[in-house]
């Protein structure tokens, strides 16, 4: 029987990452969509870095940054007693960086499409900036939120290189589904590899299908 532990671990990692990125990426995307600051291109470039860097490069720097001998890693050890490297928490930190552009970029363009007009209209009707954000910008960008969350989730599930560098292959801790497939192939256990790879393929297809069907059946009435 194939061990399904890595599947649950991957789902857990993707869910936690998506949730945290939603909280962190939304304000960043909102700022990027509305700022006229000279820092904007630099921040956008940094946000897009994980798209172009080989995962090994990202993983390498994270490994150094998070290791218990580095300032950040040792600080974490001193307050929690656990290491960030080769742990689930470390994987979450790595995934936040790795999947950042998949959350921020769709949200940024969705917020840009909402435009200043609707937000100004809300302000002119007495809505504070925070109120206008939740009552006008978020509903009008709802499709962007759906796209961003699905892409982030799916992309985190498919993560491999960064996990291998930062997390290694510890069952129940860091052995996510992509790592498990890699190991099954290395050890010539093709049946187990088939089960996980096929499952992942079917899962990814279904998620994307649902997104496209939802977008098609419930088109957002903007215009």
């Amino acid at each position: 029987m194939t061990d399904l532990g890595p599947v649950w671990l991957s789902l857990q990692l993707a869910a936690v990452t998506t949730l945290l990125l939603l909280l962190l990426g939304t304000p960043l995307a909102w700022w990027l969509a509305r700022t006229s600051s000279r820092l904007k291109p630099a921040v956008e470039a940094v946000t897009a870095l994980p798209l172009v860097l080989p995962p090994t490069v990202l993983g390498f720097y994270l490994l150094i940054l998070l290791s218990p001998t580095a300032p950040l890693g040792s600080f974490w050890v001193s307050i929690t007693g656990t290491s960030l490297t080769f742990s689930f928490t470390g994987l979450v930190v790595a995934s936040l960086l790795y999947s950042l552009p998949f959350m921020v970029q769709p949200l940024e363009s969705a917020f840009e499409a909402v435009g200043r007009g609707a937000v100004e209209a809300a302000a002119s009707l007495g809505a504070s900036p925070l109120d206008a954000f939740f009552s006008v910008a978020v509903p009008l960008a709802s499709r962007g939120f759906l796209t961003a969350c699905v892409l982030t989730f799916a992309h985190t599930i498919g993560e491999f290189g960064v996990v291998l560098m930062v997390g290694g292959n510890i069952p129940g801790q860091t052995r996510v589904v992509s790592i498990a497939i890699y190991e099954h192939v290395e050890t010539l256990r093709y049946f187990d590899a088939h089960v996980l790879a096929g499952g992942l393929l079917a899962f990814s297809f279904l998620v994307l299908l649902v997104v496209y069907v939802v977008n098609r059946r419930y088109p957002l009435h903007v215009g």
Binding site: A118, A122, G126, P129, D131, L140
Partner: protein, 364 residues
């Protein structure tokens, strides 16, 4: 209607444009902010609402200070009690008509503004409440936008070219609703427009802007008389605004007679105005010709006896401007200087003013 004045000391400097306004507007009914595009009208309105930043100076409605750079006061838009109607109506597409109205109503409850039902009734919105905003016509959208603006419980309405993009018929329709607002709700309005006809229809007072500077400010009638002195309205737009009273309608020939205080003008039938009602008319200077004797065998029906009051230089070297005092009203004519010389027109000459066309502006 007793309303506090609006103090405007506004300085805005953008790379290619600067705005300087230093006026106190008495805010009686409609104050038109008029000028060509690029003159700063919309920028001024946005500055009052708090959308334009940074602004130096001081903006206060009576004792309620919205901006005072020196005192460090700069209230954000949602804390300024203005109702802003944008030229693109900016209805929220994710809410239906009732939802759009409720958005404003819910956030301004208890401010003692205008009630939901009163707004719905004044603008005839009841049949639209359940509709999606995408299903509304252009005119209906403006009405909903106006209703939403009123539910913000504003102390001042800011209307930024609210009729842009509507066809003639819908314009008249929406304008009729707009016109009823100040009286009905005791609410003053600043009305930005570059359309002299719209301004002539609604304005009680007028502020004329050009290239970011105030050119004129005063009552609409007074400003309109002097408007041609500035190259703002384009050629041939100079004219007068006169008040009159409908005496009767001639249904057979489709005509309406309007008494201008002693002289009667004949106009194409204005159905919607009853006999006895006061109306506002605009007569363009180029539509008035002058004769020294009462002409016979003429197709022009409006021939009014009067006396030349003044002969002024026209906007071009070939033209002169002749002011004629009728029994009650004064009108102006744009003639060639050659005609003035040939007819020997000078102050005191008895003349007949031939009015080729009159445009009806509004019932007042």
């Amino acid at each position: 209607m007793s309303v506090e004045p609006l103090e405007l000391r506004v300085e805005i400097d953008l790379p290619a444009f600067s705005l300087r306004v230093n006026e106190t507007l008495p805010l009686a009914g409609f104050t038109a902010v008029f000028g060509p595009s690029g003159s700063g009208k919309s920028t001024l309105l946005r500055a009052i609402a708090g959308f334009e930043r940074p602004v130096r100076g001081r903006i206060a409605l009576g004792s309620d200070v919205w901006l005072d750079r020196a005192a460090g006061i700069d209230r954000p838009p949602h804390r300024r009690p203005v109702g802003f109607m944008f030229q693109d109506d900016r209805l929220f597409p994710h809410r239906d008509v009732a939802g759009n109205l409720a958005y404003a109503a819910r956030r301004n409850r208890g401010v003692g503004g205008i009630g939901f039902d009163a707004v719905v009734e004044a603008l005839d919105l009841a049949p639209l409440l359940d509709r999606r905003v995408q299903a509304l016509s252009g005119g209906e959208r403006r009405r909903v936008a106006l209703g939403r603006t009123l539910l913000r419980a504003p102390r001042l309405l800011l209307l930024d070219e609210p009729l842009t993009g509507l066809d003639r018929e819908r314009k008249a329709d929406v304008l009729a609703y707009l016109q009823s607002i100040p009286k009905r709700f005791g609410l003053p309005a600043l009305y930005v427009s570059h359309d002299i006809d719209e301004v002539a229809t609604v304005a009680d007072d007028m502020l004329v802007l050009a290239e970011g500077r105030v050119q004129m400010h005063g009552t609409a009638a007074a400003v309109m008389e002097r408007l041609d002195l500035q190259p703002l309205t384009g050629r041939f737009e100079a004219g007068v605004l006169v008040e009159g009273r409908v005496t009767d309608h001639d249904r057979r020939l489709h005509l309406t007679h309007v008494d201008l205080g002693g002289d009667v003008l004949t106009l194409p039938l204005i159905d919607r105005v009853p006999a006895g009602a006061a109306v506002r008319l605009r007569i363009r200077a180029r539509d008035v010709a002058i004769a020294t004797e009462r002409p016979v065998g003429l197709s022009i029906r409006n021939v009014l006896a009067g006396r030349v009051e003044e002969v002024l230089e026209g906007d071009e070297p070939a033209f002169a401007e002749v002011w004629v005092q009728l029994t009650g009203a004064r009108i102006r004519a744009r003639l060639t200087r050659a005609a003035v010389e040939a007819l020997r027109l000078e102050p005191g000459s008895s003349v007949f003013a031939l009015v080729k066309s009159v445009s009806f502006q509004s019932a007042s």
